[in-house]
Symmetry: C2
Subunit: 113 residues, 2 copies
Amino acid sequence: MSCIFCKIIAGEAPAAILYRDEQVIAFRDIHPIASTHILIVPLRHISSVNELEEADAALVGHMALAAKQLAVQEGVAGRGYRLIMNTGPEGGQSVFHLHMHLIAGKSARSLLG
Amino acid sequence: MSCIFCKIIAGEAPAAILYRDEQVIAFRDIHPIASTHILIVPLRHISSVNELEEADAALVGHMALAAKQLAVQEGVAGRGYRLIMNTGPEGGQSVFHLHMHLIAGKSARSLLG
């Protein structure tokens, strides 16, 4: 098992875990680009958005719903936040296990206009 | 009806529509920030991620699946792309009807590192 996110899910690599349920896990990005920077990750290994099938729709939506709850917990739901899924080399994907970034707070405002 | 996206959905405002099914519509962003910049929008008016309920999970996932198909159509699936949902003032949301940005190609690489 070489996937770092699978190792975190299995408890074999450390992470600042904020949330876990039967479908997803959420932990803080180890290289945050804003004061709130959390990754929401499906427990099942899916490489990227390119590998998603229609049967995964509810799972992907559940990732967004978990992100929404985390935004409330972090106290950023009112001011605002961004949810981002990067795919492939030019999309900036660095770990090839599907994940959604929740980015908010200081510095997030200037990203992407 | 003052929502510009609801007007596009109703055929009362112009847009470069690329895709439509029973749940979502997709059209080119009128102010593109990259060579591919498409918005995927649910037909039903939902203001933002903050208003999503668990029952909307499949809809949100379907938006991502539609985006994946559009990335293939645009010829950017291999090189990579970003899917982004902005929420609230500091999140950069400008139209308060839920939408997902599909951004790829020239200039997308430098965004968000």
